[in-house]
């Protein structure tokens, strides 16, 4: 147990070292800051960017198709919206397909929640505007060409004896370009949809687990992963993560060598001081404890500064390369500071350990 006066001197010595040996401390601190910056920055990119990108991937459209033999009601769609975690839900929309005569031509009419459908399928291009009131509709671009229709044109849906006005032309890049789109509210208070499309920002195993959970919770509804989309997303994310991990390991290894070399140089510079302390009776253990605390404080301060710099670095990389900003994760931050302390202590203690066993006369000899 260190007595209070000794503890006071010990703390004073630590303070004096940091205050009076600023150039040495700065060099060591810079090395630690660079290490912590890279560590926190790369870790943030590794964990955050794939997560953010999986949300971006929703531009590919829905990743789960919901099928029900008895039909999906409006109430069920509303329930499903609540079932999906809010942060992961991109959109959900039901589809009811009907074949009707439009100006004497047989066409497929798709009833859907157009606002949600546009959200789920960001690649949809609407020329004109989406329907904003009853009686307005979108017409697929190919169908518009065939029927020589344009924005503002009206036509007769003979089966329901309704006159509709095309507020916009929709280009989906798929068979949907031959459909007429009406908002599902045109069907009245309730409906029974053939299918529903669900888009959530999950990938890989998490997505599969969610689909299974949904299937259990709604036995009448069969969730089917849209494999084409899901597989390509998983593959891209997997490669991206592997790439980031690979770069992280290489950069970290180089940084650790840099930190270790700097710490060794800083310790070796103080060999004479270590020799003197041993000469006047210091135990090797006392010297190790002093250097341990110095390294711990260096690692802590460097780790904290590295958090700020690393977050800036991660944000810069993420925005310039992926176009998305990163989120500050407290758990990664805490782990980074801890890692910074551990590594600085290890990097510092190796040279100190051999220095603490040095023969004082070796280092005190001569000038």
């Amino acid at each position: 147990m260190v007595k209070r006066a000794n503890l006071k001197l010990f703390v004073l010595m630590l303070g004096m070292f940091f205050l009076r040996r600023r150039s040495r401390v700065t060099v060591a601190l810079l090395a630690v800051i660079i290490g912590a910056t890279v560590f926190f920055g790369m870790l943030t990119i590794y964990y955050d960017v794939p997560a953010r990108l999986s949300a971006e991937f929703r531009a590919y459209g829905a990743n789960i198709l919901l099928i029900s033999e008895k039909g999906i009601s409006k109430g069920e769609v509303e329930e499903l919206k609540r079932f999906v975690p809010e942060t992961n839900l991109v959109g959900i929309t039901p589809y009811i397909y009907k074949t009707m005569l439009l100006n004497s031509h047989s066409v497929t009419v798709a009833y859907t929640d157009i606002e949600q459908a546009v959200k789920i399928n960001p690649f949809w291009q609407v020329r004109g505007s989406a329907p904003s009131k009853s009686g307005e509709a979108l017409i697929g671009s190919d169908l518009a060409d065939i029927l020589e229709m344009d924005i503002g044109f009206a036509a007769e849906l003979e089966d329901i004896k309704a006159r509709i006005l095309f507020s916009g032309i929709l280009k989906t890049g798929s068979a949907g370009d031959n459909f007429v789109y009406l908002d599902i509210s045109e069907l009245g208070e309730d409906y029974s949809a053939d299918i529903a499309e669900l888009s959530i920002s999950l990938t890989g195993d998490a997505l599969e687990e969610f689909a299974i959970e949904l299937g259990y919770s709604y036995p009448d509804i069969t969730p089917k992963l849209i494999k084409r989309v899901v597989n390509s997303e998983t593959a891209v994310l997997g490669k991206l993560k592997a790439l980031v991990l690979f770069v992280t390991i290489i950069v970290l290894t180089l940084t650790m060598i840099c930190v270790s070399t700097t710490m060794t140089a800083v310790v070796l510079e103080r060999l004479k001081e270590i020799g003197l302390k041993k000469a006047i009776g210091a135990h090797s253990k006392s010297i190790l404890i002093e250097f341990f605390w110095e390294a711990l404080i260096l690692g802590f301060i460097g780790g904290l500064i590295g958090l700020i710099a690393g977050f800036g670095f991660a944000n810069f990389v993420s925005i310039s390369v992926f176009g998305v900003s990163v989120v500050f994760h407290l758990s990664i931050a805490a782990f980074s500071v801890f890692a910074s302390i551990v590594f600085t202590v290890i990097a510092g203690m190796f040279p100190v350990y051999s220095a603490a066993n040095v023969n004082p006369i070796e280092v005190l000899r001569g000038e």
Binding site: M13, R20, L276, A279, G281, A282, N359, P360, L364
Partner: protein, 229 residues
């Protein structure tokens, strides 16, 4: 009178080169011994052996009644801490600590830090007013006096000084000698390794080394012959 340190047939051999050869020497409690000799005569090696900084290749060393010839390094460290005050030619102060903190450092490793005691030690070497100065703010003489204050702070049985005035001007040399006189008068055993006859003349006994052996010993310091360096 009992001996504080006793060398019995001590040899120190580095890579087949004998730095000390079969040296026997006794230093009594309270005695002031000067060790002289030209460069390479083995003075520093003898100081390292007596100061428990090195171990003899052959022979034995009895320190304060205890045979420490085969002591472990940590035991030698403990003897340095408890019984020896070391004074170096190059002072060896910790550069980022003040004069006072440098003195307290020896207390810290020894037992308990006592600022009042450390200030008293600095007062004794005439540096109380300079206690808050860093080594770089002190002259060579003042740094040596801080080194002396650090050496005497734990009341060592033996003060071992290696060329304590080697880097000092005449004024500071005199101050240091006066401090040694005072310490010796109080009963401290002092061993001074020196080239300086001025310093040696105050010793009770002078030992002259040559080629790793004791070439001459003179009890009567006044009749000790001049040394050609």
């Amino acid at each position: 009178m009992k001996n504080i340190v006793e060398l019995r047939g001590v040899s120190v051999i580095y890579d087949s080169l004998a730095a000390l050869q079969d040296v026997s020497l006794e230093v009594r409690f309270g005695e002031w011994l000067a060790v002289m000799g030209p460069s390479g005569s083995g003075k520093t090696t003898m100081m390292n052996i007596i100061g428990c900084l090195d171990k003899p290749t052959r022979g034995s060393i009895i320190f304060d009644g205890e045979d420490i010839s085969h002591a472990r390094l940590k035991d030698l460290t403990a003897i340095r801490r408890e019984k020896i005050g070391l004074i170096f030619q190059q002072f060896h102060l910790v550069p980022y600590l003040t004069a006072l903190q440098n003195v307290m450092l020896a207390q810290y490793y020894h037992s308990l830090v006592d600022e009042k005691e450390a200030l008293k030690a600095l007062e004794r070497v005439g540096l109380r007013e300079r206690s808050s100065h860093l080594p770089k703010e002190l002259s060579g003489g003042e740094q040596q006096r801080v080194c002396i204050a650090r050496a005497l702070i734990n009341y060592p049985k033996l003060i071992l000084a290696d060329e304590p005035t080697g880097n000092l001007d005449e004024t500071n040399e005199k101050i240091v000698i006066d401090i040694f006189k005072g310490l010796n008068a109080e009963g401290s055993a002092i061993i001074v390794v020196t080239h300086d006859r001025e310093v040696a003349q105050y010793a009770d006994r002078v030992v002259r080394l040559g080629h790793g052996k004791i070439a001459a010993q003179e009890k009567d310091r006044l009749t000790f012959p001049p040394i050609s360096l």
